[in-house]
């Protein structure tokens, strides 16, 4: 990227978060932290049956609560327009597709009043038999057309069954990943303000993309896009569960319009598992066929998962097998069962996170069976082209990641498991992959008469550091120092851009910002004399370039190393060391990138050791519904983590040369930890997480 000699490149520099000061002083306002005059508070009422119909809603006790403004029910709620997403068709009919589905909304002057009113709403139901438990041989399992991300549910090459039958060495293993919850620290919240006079709805929403929220609200409330403004300035994490509009924002908007008051709605934490999506449980069967030298000859990865009866969402967990290893005969297939459960959705690296847990565990089992070093096994099966598509990789440095990781981790020195008193210590490795996704975006850049520059784009910073890295992209394209650039994001009044998801933000938005700033630079070069008082502007729209189908297979890769300590007395497993090496294009900001990688690894640690949700067969809800029962890792669970990367120069990505980095950190982490556990104890656990109940049972309870 061109820079003038006196302007060091902003990209690649460890610039601190531009909104950091606001965040450490408490000045940064999140969606529920706006209180327009006359603001009311809403509290939703979840269904308490697993399946059936509402037969009555008695709101009398609720409306008798002092300060209650009203209660919306399926009988009287505003009729909504068409919704692409049926989970947003709230209070439109009497059916209850799963426990926790919202059946009423109490609105009151105060938060306390709204909560108390919601508790007094009396709902009666007619119940139908329900079915909420996934099994691999479930009678209603079906193969969908597509899994999430538009991936074909079923792919087959060659004759995997024959190849397996002929293989000298075979692995045939089943793995299970429990349902998982995103649980961003900020629960889903919205403040909606309908202005009848202006015929305009203004919403502060905790969302990964204000644009899609506006589109959905406009359609649902039968407004035009111009009638709706959505602001998502600061967002307290999302990890996928704020990727598209969720019920809270629709309810808040409906209530504001009905009652003519601004309405604030922050979901209670224990509502989240049922209403904002979760990572569906996945049951995996992996079969590997190999020659005695470790060369893979056959691979099948069969995934069974659940979806809801409301909307089909199929976790694409067999998809990474299509990318990873050179196998001529391969089958990857997804089966789904539509159960009376909450609708699953995106959670950090949907597909890759559970899929690579299974695949990379199986690879470890194969290495063990063959007596081959697990790194060497992977190296031997490195493909020349993407196995499924046959496309060349735009860049692929998995082997380099494994080698450098092994060097940094001291892999060669920890091949023997150790015992320290009651503790067993072992090490494991696993590979990681995540696709490069890109979506069209637009941006506008302004040169201001005071010498500053303003970049506008409706991007969202959910904690990734988007503001900061976009300013870095702009500074280099404008060839100016970073501190001259300010960035406005998180508002539908800004040029439209894609949502923060699929690790696509920086690539997609950065491309538009780069193009707008490059255009502005050209305009400034042609301009002579002082700038007009309104400054000079240029815009960009990457629709053409972003939609162009790449002739390359584009993925980031990585390698995870973990050392665990297993307490044979308590069955507690703790990670002692974690190290990741990633090849993800050009790293644009090493400070925030390292945090992203490490953050993903922490979530992977949770997936491996502590996070677990159980579908309650009787009640149809997740038993671990709050942060006391659902154990996201705490400080004490997290060792010092190292995240490194390999410089990758890939010209087939975007002008910055970057790949997404938000998700790859979680991919493979759980497998590395599980493999380390097996190394330490000699026991292979094929179901996550590795909690004391499972570990003690595996160890035979011996101390």
């Amino acid at each position: 990227m061109p820079t003038t000699p006196d302007t060091p490149s902003a990209l690649g520099s460890p610039a601190r978060r531009s909104e950091g000061r606001e965040k450490v002083t408490g000045a940064a306002r999140y969606a529920a932290e706006h209180t327009p005059p006359g603001c009311a508070y809403a509290w939703p009422v979840p269904a308490t049956i697993a399946r059936g119909r509402v037969t009555s809603v008695d709101t009398a006790p609720a409306t008798a609560v002092p300060g209650v403004i009203g209660v919306l029910t399926p009988y009287d709620a505003p009729r909504l327009g068409a919704a692409d997403d049926p989970t947003l068709r709230l209070l439109q009919d009497l059916s209850v597709p799963h426990r926790g589905w919202y059946v009423a909304l109490a609105v009151a002057d105060t938060l306390e009043g709204a909560r108390a009113a919601a508790a007094t709403v009396r709902v009666t139901y007619e119940t139908d038999p329900h079915d909420v438990i996934l099994s691999v041989d479930h009678q209603r399992a079906y193969t969908p057309e597509e899994a999430n991300g538009g991936h074909p549910a079923h792919r087959e090459q060659g004759d995997p069954d024959a190849a397996l039958a002929a293989a000298p060495v075979r692995i045939d293993c089943a793995y299970a990943v429990a349902p998982l919850h995103n649980h961003p620290m900020e629960p889903h919240s919205a403040t909606a303000d309908w202005d009848e006079e202006r015929h305009h709805l203004t919403v502060h929403d905790s969302s990964q993309g204000a644009g899609p929220v506006r589109t959905a609200l406009a359609a649902l409330l039968k407004l035009t896009d111009e009638d709706v403004t959505v602001v998502s300035e600061h967002v307290g994490g999302g990890f996928g569960c704020k990727g598209t509009p969720r019920p809270h924002v629709v309810l808040a908007a409906m209530a504001s319009r009905r009652y003519g008051r601004p309405v604030k709605l922050a979901l209670p934490r224990n509502h989240l598992p049922a209403t904002v999506g979760h990572r569906a449980p996945t049951l995996h069967r992996i079969r590997l066929g190999a020659r005695t030298d470790g060369t893979l000859t056959a691979l099948t990865h069969e995934v069974t998962t659940h979806t809801s009866r409301v909307r089909e969402f199929v976790e694409q967990a067999a998809v990474p097998a299509r990318v990873m290893y050179a196998v001529p005969d391969m089958r990857t297939i997804h089966r789904a069962v539509a159960l009376d459960v909450p609708t699953p959705s995106w959670m950090r690296a949907p597909g890759e996170a559970p899929g690579m847990y299974a695949l990379e565990s199986a690879m470890d089992e194969l290495a063990e069976t063959l007596g081959i070093d697990p790194i060497e096994l992977r190296v031997r099966n490195e493909p020349r082209t993407e196995p499924d598509s046959g496309l060349p990789f735009s860049s692929r440095h998995l082997v380099e990641c494994l080698r450098e990781g092994a060097e940094r981790f001291g892999w060669a020195d920890c091949r023997e498991p150790r015992r320290q008193g009651p503790h067993l210590i072992g090490s494991g490795v696993a590979a990681a992959t995540y696709p490069v996704l890109v979506a069209p975006s637009t941006a506008r850049a302004h040169a201001l008469p005071d010498g500053g520059y303003l970049v506008e784009i409706n991007a969202t910073d959910i904690g990734t550091g988007a503001r900061t890295v976009l300013a870095q992209v702009a500074a280099d394209a404008l060839r100016v120092p970073l501190d001259r650039v300010s960035v406005a994001i998180g508002h539908t009044g800004l040029p439209a851009a894609s949502l923060a998801g699929g690790s696509s933000g920086t690539g997609s938005w950065g491309w538009a910002v780069h193009d707008a700033c490059t255009a502005l630079t050209a305009r400034l070069e042609r301009h002579h004399g002082p700038l007009p008082t309104v400054g000079l502007s240029a815009s960009a729209d990457t629709t053409q370039s972003a939609k162009q189908k790449s002739p390359y297979s584009r993925h980031a890769f990585g390698a995870h190393f973990a050392e665990v300590r297993v307490d044979t007395i308590t069955g507690e497993v703790r990670a002692r060391r974690m190290l990741g090496v990633f090849a993800a294009g050009r790293i644009l900001n090493p400070l925030t990138a390292r945090s992203q990688f490490k953050g993903g690894m922490v979530m992977g640690l949770g997936m491996a050791l502590t996070e677990h949700s159980t579908m309650d067969a009787e009640f149809g809800d997740f038993a671990e519904s709050d942060l006391a029962a659902y154990h996201v890792p705490a400080h004490a669970d997290v060792p010092t983590i190292e995240a490194h990367w390999i410089d990758e120069h890939d010209k087939h990505l975007n002008p910055m040369g970057s790949k997404g980095i938000g998700e790859i950190g979680i991919v493979g982490t759980a497998a590395a930890i599980g493999n380390a556990f097996c190394h330490a104890t000699g026991h292979r656990l094929r179901e996550l997480p590795l909690t004391p109940d499972r570990v003690l049972t595996a160890l035979g309870g011996a101390g």
Binding site: T48, E112, R115, A116, A119, G421, P422, T568, I569, T570, G571, E572, R574, L609, T610, T614, D616, A617, E618, F619, A623, E624, S625, A628, A629, H631, P633, A634, H635, A636, D637, T691, P692, D693, R694, L696, T697, G701, G703
Partner: protein, 339 residues
């Protein structure tokens, strides 16, 4: 949360009188569990009587060498007190193994004893629970119960008591001092303060209506006694016990002169392992002897389909705890080389 009136008591008499004159009232100390349950509508008091301004914040050494801990003392202040750390390490360790720093700063000694089970069915008013609503049934028995009781449960309730502190108090032979306006003060043994569920799981403790926990009395430690608390949990910190053990041990001539073992996370109350203690008293505390004693205690366990691991876990914890104490107790046999 239902609206409620608020009364700030400045003396025990005033608090008891307020209770008598306000039906449906509850006392509040730190409130870290009560407010939590009020938000779930599990607790629906009409009146809260605030005890935090009562003069019950002292830890005093008694002439006997014991300690009197008033009920308003925070979990933090109790855990860090030099006399608690030196004389009752199991108590300090139990407190520090529980909750978080900020919760311990607010939670009180009395409130810790009176916290309710974390059974998810108890906390969800849309589901049956005999403890919350007698006669509605126990949803946990056939439901998600990995964390539930393996000892002393009944067909009506399989909940566990979540306190770490109470487990240590049970092992330390503490007494709980109670006050009520009518009868004055009485004391009950900590080990008998919490109940087994039986026919009445709605009653966690032997506390009578209106009674106030005023203090915990710790007897002087047995001569030469050492103690510890050990806890296993799903994450490294800030999680309730899957199982825990408080152990107290004094040796004489290589034999057990005094031993107390109490388990947490296994039952509706801290489980004082009297069978194991009887077997060990007077015995040479070899690993074999400890294992036999603990196994005899845990023979009473009736695990549910998904929590049998707790029996093995408790056995491991107890054996390790006693072995650790044997190594550090005065009068221990000479250390043998570790395998």
């Amino acid at each position: 949360m239902k609206p409620f009136a608020y009364v700030r008591a400045t003396s025990l008499q005033e608090a008891a009188a307020a209770y008598a004159s306000h039906p449906g009232s509850r006392y509040i100390g730190g409130g870290t569990n009560l407010v939590d349950l009020m938000k779930h509508d599990v607790e629906t008091p009409d009146t809260l009587i605030d005890l935090t301004r009562l003069p019950l914040h002292d830890i005093r050494e008694l002439p006997t060498g014991g300690l009197r801990v008033e009920a308003g003392v925070s979990n933090t202040d109790l855990a860090v007190h030099p006399l608690v750390r030196t004389r009752y390490p199991a108590l300090s360790q139990a407190l520090l193994a529980g909750a978080s720093g900020q919760l311990r700063n607010v939670a009180t000694t009395g409130g810790n004893l009176l916290q309710r089970t974390r059974c998810p069915y108890f906390q969800d008013v849309s589901k049956p629970c005999n403890k919350r609503e007698p006669g509605t049934g126990c949803a946990a028995r056939d439901g998600v119960h990995r964390d539930h009781a393996v000892l002393g449960h009944s067909e009506h309730c399989i909940a566990t008591h979540p306190s770490d502190m109470a487990v240590a108090l049970a092992a330390l032979d503490a007494e709980i001092e109670l006050y009520d306006g009518e009868h004055g003060t009485r004391r009950v043994a900590a080990a008998g303060f919490h109940r087994l569920p039986g026919e009445h799981p709605e009653r966690d403790t032997v506390l009578r209506p209106g009674e106030i926990v005023t203090a915990v009395l710790l007897p002087p430690p047995a001569p030469g006694a050492v103690s510890l608390y050990r806890k296993a949990r799903d994450r490294a910190s800030y999680a309730f016990a899957l199982a825990s053990v408080a152990a107290v041990l004094a040796l004489h001539d290589g034999r057990v002169r005094h031993v107390a073992l109490a388990f947490g996370g296994l039952a509706h109350r801290p489980w004082r392992a009297t069978t194991a203690e009887e077997r060990l008293t007077g015995a040479v505390p070899t690993d074999e002897a400890v294992r036999e004693a603990v196994d005899a205690e845990l023979a009473a366990a009736r695990p549910l389909p998904d929590n049998a691991f707790k029996v093995a876990l408790a056995r491991n914890l107890a054996r390790d705890a006693v072995a650790t104490l044997v190594r550090s107790a005065p009068g221990a046999p000479p250390a043998r080389p570790q395998p």
